[in-house]
Symmetry: C3
């Protein structure tokens, strides 16, 4: 049943650009162990007494794959790893790991803890790459609302601000999954609904509340504005931190909204998707404007990355699968996001070639599509200048 | 951990009949590329500009496995494949691929686009096989309703027509998943409910509406009529075209209805089931009258077929698993449905033998059961003459 | 891509204690074939005429792995297996299979058909092991209710009885999944709600009803009492017999209840979890007080055990995964529960070592954690004397 066809080697990635279509910035200060551990889990709390977050697939992958980039042996202990990491300047750690990741272009979502992390320009410089921004819709609203004189300005001001940001940003992101659940009302809200909701929110802010957008009408309004702008719209899907009600983050809950937006010109990017990645693959198969990835999951499942990649490639058309790391904060997450993805994809393709099902050319074409071509099409990157490049301001 | 026990070879299938318990007919005219591509996806729309449906697991499998039957090398380009296909008469393409499939008996659901495809007799002739019909309940209603003089005749006329069709047909199919979702009310509707619903529907038809059955009471009534006739009842489950709300097609939503029908004498066949095939396996394990397959999915997941087959064989009793292609239109889908199924099942069994968990006799018994014995039991085929046989009318 | 690192051998388990954190007692009488088959399925009904429950993954595993312990060849027929089994005294069969399981400590849930099975002391004696009891909350209520003079005593009497039982028992179990579904109201019921619910239930019992607890308020009350006692609380999750509405047994439905109990000091043990084991892994990742296993499933999926174990170890932190057999009645289920678990875990770890992702030390540490350390932490077993030991009363 097995074939003698030649397998692909890691060199199959050498001539291919790698675009990370969804990540955040890296932190650049010395990290004590508790802070480091808090950034290598989606949990919001410490591990139980006597245990460590390193005892996980991700921790094992850090010890295996990141250690050599810090001049250590593979599988070094967590203690030794962190000790060595602290001997190096944070910028040195970041440079080694980011350059080791081999990511050529970063699409960076800037709406989460933006003050703690490197800017797109900083990321470009540190990684020797290019970087573009992705706008978080809810954050844009939260920055806008406190500045408004009147709720009647909300809709127009939001649209105007979004258009301004999109002169440089390459797409938008929504965290409706966190704030509402994906079973939100798929219909476009009316002008009157938006005005009333804005009025309610502004009153709360005037009353002293932090400007946190969790109003369903305004979140839906933001998404529909992005549809009107024919944008690439990233949705958080599936697994995330414990704020999420995971059973309300199944992408299938978006089905009716996808029907309503199919002819809009917008593209929909389903992020992460674990453990609903097969469902996401179905949507990418059924709807021409849907793309998906298994970012975030790749890092957390570690040695299981090949299986998750393979499951995501059951129904997903080869022109609709994307790569992302969803890395935030730790340079290790960019390195592993890219390394485990390339390594897992190569293994999966070689299994199919070895079983006599695929030929090498099909595998090489898939690599080009996932690593770069599909992101270029989804974000229309060939029509946009790169916003920031390594060394552009330094 | 590994065993030296002898593995099974493809010859394990040679003495075994293969019954495709759910498929449709093949088209038999020259297919231009757009029409061909539209039949190799569950999407209702074109692929995005610059992409092709061939860049998928199914497209790869067509280029790999169907090409040699058209005198081409494996892995030939899509362009060359379609060019060669067009050089041959449609009947020649169909004959080569259908006979290559090695299916001995087709149970053909005739209720979908019946005018565009070969009849059961045509399929039997082209494939050199036998064929039987399966009645789509909703289509039967849609053919019946416009002929009725009065809504009060609906229930009795439906029952009578169903009985007539079942003098030759071997079972029924319902698309309640599409029209209602599987979370329909599991209880048998009352006579009064049926009469009222029929009256409403007939008024719509008299008013000029196309006779499309989407009334919940009448769809449930049709299913319960099939229960009363102690039929084999096929349910569409899981993945399908974008008309489906996939999150409402989980077979677990049928649990209460399965409790109500357990002692009825009906058998329930869960079709396709991806990505809920493990849930379907649980129902086949728990309920004695439930059977399941992973047809349709096998074609679409291509090189991943072995994993899907293996997952479906976790909980499904070996006496409850069935084979189907769910092929429609393209002869390639019958060939691949059967080929990828046999190949994947063989690989899975050999993994278990090779790991020292199974012996060859257990594997051979499983093959006989899935390929033929289970369908014979579920449809009571040994009590029914074969309806149409190759050459019977030619 | 593959590593030459030395793989682990079965000896990796030799110096490690194995704690079965959830099982029941074994029966000890001669079993005719129908009774034997009824205990090797979760179905409540006979297999269809002409079929046998042995034609399943579990049946195949019994013929493969249990036969040699009864002096038979592997893969012997079901008939020969049962014939040989009947030649031996039930206590001899139990001793051979239980001792073959290599389980050192059993945590035994005593609330289901307790009169038909060996007690914890009987299990300890037969297995040459130690055993502790786990209290089923619903059973405790059902034993208490008929003895009460007044419903106003219910709350206090329940708490007092629970405390009494917990002087020796090491934890509690709830079957809320069966009686309510996991989408129960997560909030603690008020005293008034409990009193009113108790009054209603006692009236039913006085009226002659069997004391079966299916009142949502009282089931929730029992769970919250266990939270107050800072107990290890086992939840039935996922797959079980056909009484369960499986789509209401997804552990994600517990998310809000887990938020409410995170700081309580209780530990939550998600049992079985198939086919929702990835969702359970997410909860164990996100919530510090959540643990999970894939017991029960291991037996039923047989040759597929390695894949289920691997899937459960994607997100589950290595300090949160547990071992259980969930065996009831048949000694074969303890043997297979332990054997397939050890064998599957070893294979999974060796795949990761062989692929160059893990080193042997990481694998050895994981084995120690899952087999013993995690159960010791979750149940605080190092603070509790072993309740019954082999030979303690014989």
């Amino acid at each position: 049943m097995h074939s003698d066809a030649p397998l692909l080697t890691p060199s199959a990635f050498e001539s291919v650009q790698l675009i990370d279509h969804h990540c955040h910035g890296v932190v650049e200060h010395q990290l004590a162990r508790p802070e480091f551990e808090s950034m290598m889990t989606e949990s919001n709390w410490d591990a139980p007494a006597g245990t460590t977050v390193f005892d996980s697939q991700l921790g094992t992958a850090i010890r295996r794959w990141c250690a050599p980039l810090l001049d250590l042996d593979p599988h070094v202990s967590a203690e030794r790893y962190l000790e060595r990491r602290a001997e190096l300047a944070p910028s040195e750690v970041n440079a080694r790991l980011l350059r080791g990741a081999g990511i050529d272009r970063y699409l960076i979502e800037t709406g989460y803890r933006g003050d703690d992390i490197l800017s797109p320009q900083g990321m470009a410089d540190r990684a020797g790459a290019t970087a573009d921004a992705v706008v978080r819709l809810e954050r844009l609203a939260e920055q806008l609302a406190p500045q408004l004189q009147s709720a009647t300005d909300y809709a127009e001001s939001f649209r105007a601000q979004l258009r301004t940001e999109l002169t440089t940003a390459v797409g938008v992101k929504t965290i409706a999954a966190y704030r509402l659940g994906l079973d939100f009302n798929p219909v476009r809200p009316t002008d009157a609904e938006v005005a009333a909701a804005a009025a309610g929110w502004l009153r709360e802010i005037e009353g002293g509340a932090e400007p946190r957008l969790d109003d369903a009408v305004l979140i839906r309004f933001g998404i529909w504005c992005a549809v009107d702008e024919q944008q690439a719209i990233q949705f958080h899907i599936g697994f995330g931190d414990p704020d999420v009600d995971l059973h309300r983050c199944d992408p299938l809950l978006l089905t009716e909204w996808l029907r309503l937006t199919r002819e809009s010109g917008a593209r929909v990017l389903l992020l992460h998707c674990y453990p609903f990645h097969r469902n996401a693959g179905y949507l990418a198969h059924a709807f021409p404007h849907v793309y998906c990835d298994v970012g975030l999951a790749i890092n957390y499942v570690g040695a299981r990355a090949p299986q998750i990649i393979a499951e995501s490639l059951e129904l997903t058309p080869f022109d609709k699968a994307l790569f992302s790391s969803d890395a935030f904060g730790l340079a290790e997450l960019y390195l592993l996001g890219a390394h485990l993805f390339r390594r897992g994809l190569l293994r999966v393709i070689n299994e199919w070639i070895g079983a006599g099902e695929w030929d090498a050319a099909t595998g090489e074409a898939l690599i080009r599509k996932i690593c770069a071509d599909n992101a270029v099409r989804a974000y229309q990157l060939d029509e946009r200048p790169r916003f920031v490049m390594a060394g552009a301001t330094s």
